[in-house]
Symmetry: C2
Subunit: 375 residues, 2 copies
């Protein structure tokens, strides 16, 4: 089966072999060696000298950890969103009692840094900005460097969901002055789901010292204390650490620049292939994601057209039918649209373990499947 959803991504044989390794004592020196090795290599991919913690959870747990470790109830937070995952980030902060101001962009469009600037200048009480680097639900990659210029220029905390981008799309965490960055194992890291990874800047630690949201499992004070002895506070997902240790070697030996270039090249190939099939790309072309491509079930005049009124008219593809045909007849799994994009788009994941031949195969499958799913 060809898994072409935006996570979990297929795992290379090295990762699967590592997953099958027998357990060791998570409080012993062997595991300490593995944890230290993984952490050191993670910092290289995060491009940070700050701390990086490995949490036993999905990416959403990592987002929750980012929030509760840096904020207090009643803190005012700007939740910048252009899709389902941006909304989720704001919802988490709201659940923990933050006063969340929403800055929402149309789904399929990118975050406008100037609008972030205006929103922050309009309310000096805002303490932190939550933003999604790569919005998996719409196939949009936001410009964190531009957003960071605004946010850090105004002295706010910058908390970034990079779950589906880190290790695939260049995000130099320190250079972009990101305070907290969250990612998840089943994306560009090429290992199974079960681990989130979160970086913390010096400024994030200062916020942490004041942060009053309740936390126990997610507490980074404990994570930092245990990491000094090569441990995690709670029993870690040992197998996923084994696997990460091996895929991080793959990533670093390919070289970060090459990994980013491969994702860019393959994304470009995907987009061109989609267009040559007569289909329309859903997302704003200038910010099309290199890890997930959203394909419209509708026709529109030309690439880059305003999305306003986009869903007027009738869809041309029966998305559930297309997904079913791809799966049943071509052994190929793509993802549907989420929430308000359900039935309106489908999504192709091309992150982590992916090369040109995978996309070639997918495009061939689509060529065969599309006629059966035309409305």
């Amino acid at each position: 089966m060809q898994l072409r959803v935006p996570g979990p991504t297929p795992c290379p044989p090295q990762a699967l072999q590592a997953m099958g390794r027998q357990m060791v004592n998570h409080r012993g020196r062997e595991f300490a060696g593995i944890l230290n090795s993984v952490t050191t290599k993670l910092k290289q991919v995060f491009q940070t000298e700050g701390d990086v913690f490995i949490l036993t959870s999905s990416g959403t747990g990592g987002l929750e950890a980012a929030v509760v470790n840096t904020l207090s109830p009643n803190d005012k937070v700007l939740a910048v969103s252009c899709g389902a995952f941006g909304e989720r980030f704001g919802n988490i902060a709201e659940q923990y009692g933050a006063r969340v101001k929403r800055l929402n962009f149309e789904w399929g469009k990118a975050v406008d840094p100037e609008a972030v600037n205006k929103a922050l200048r309009a309310d000096s009480d805002i303490k932190a900005v939550l933003v999604t680097h790569n919005e998996t639900s719409t196939g949009i990659t936001n410009s964190i460097s531009e957003i960071s210029s605004v946010v850090k220029g105004l002295g706010k905390l910058l908390i970034v969901d990079a779950i589906s981008s880190l290790a695939c799309i260049d995000l130099p965490v320190d250079k972009c002055h990101c305070d907290v960055v969250v990612t998840g194992s089943q994306k560009g890291w090429m290992v199974p789901p079960g681990v989130a990874m979160v970086s913390m800047s010096e400024e994030a630690w200062q916020a942490h010292a004041q942060a009053k949201m309740p936390r126990y499992y997610w507490d980074f004070t404990k994570a930092r204390e245990y990491l000094l002895k090569g441990q995690t506070p709670w029993t870690p997902a040992v197998s996923i650490c084994y696997a990460l240790n091996s895929t991080l070697d793959l990533i670093l030996s390919e070289g970060l620049v090459n990994v980013f270039a491969r994702h860019a090249r393959i994304a470009q190939m995907t987009r061109e292939g989609i267009k040559s099939l007569g289909l329309t790309l859903f997302s704003e072309a200038s910010h099309a994601s290199n890890t997930v491509t959203a394909v419209s079930a509708f026709a529109r005049k030309g690439e880059g057209d305003a999305l306003k009124g986009y869903f007027a008219g009738e869809p041309q593809i029966d998305v559930p039918k297309l997904i079913q045909v791809l799966r049943d007849e071509y052994d190929m799994v793509v993802a549907p649209g989420q929430r308000k994009l359900s039935g309106k788009i489908f999504r192709i994941g091309h992150l982590g373990l992916v090369e040109e031949s995978d996309i070639k195969m997918l495009l061939e499958a689509l060529t065969g499947a599309l006629p059966k799913a035309r409305l």
Copy 2:
């Protein structure tokens, strides 16, 4: 290497093979089949008709989920503790703003149900009781059926940490009227760490409907809603679900009664072996755990003596040295004492994948190692 710590336990080949399986779409029908199968079998081992949820986290995350899903800030809670994990449970509730009343028993002794009765009768405001079934730090198993008679007789919510007991020691969740029961994958379930499992009774759901502690990642309303379609709200630890599906078959085909009997038999063999080496068991004999045996570094007159004054005098074993010799010369890993028991006991895990020959080998290793670690 022989891993004889109280978790992670060694995994059988079936589990390790399953861990190495390639990813599937966690929102597709194949994974739905696996999740439904695992959930159905988990309910058999929990001996419950209630709900059981699979969380991507360590056991501690499961304890946090139990607390935040059933309680509100300012709720008065009785935290009954006889060791490090009992204290942890109370600490979690405290972090989330519960008013925690502590009922602490000496480490090495079991919880006295009559004392629980008195504490509850002395303060009718108490809403819930947190209690540890098997206290891993001291090798004690508390009588949940007796504690439940008291707690449920007074109409309180009963929240049980059974992380290191379930699937090893009989705990019929429904028959014992436990409202919430938490366990972790790396214990009796014989799979790697990374998943917690939590059951919810009808009464627990009623409490949930009123519970105001902040929760997002742990929210059981979402877990229940997604389970209806064979999914989890957030990307699950797919590999561990594969593995659980296979070890649950092992557990159910051995038969619960036989699994419990094997743990009892092997624990008995361990305790007798320890005594025949001239060593002293740390824990109250009447409540000695069938999953972990705590061995004293001190001598005492006779088994069952009051523990008071127990640590007077000098230890006879250098615990760190013993652990090191066992590891370096015998390839055998046992666990040290935690917190105030550091240097005073060592602990042998015999849960999950364990048979007589493992304990025989351990006792032989101890026979060789002890002379080198005598003080």
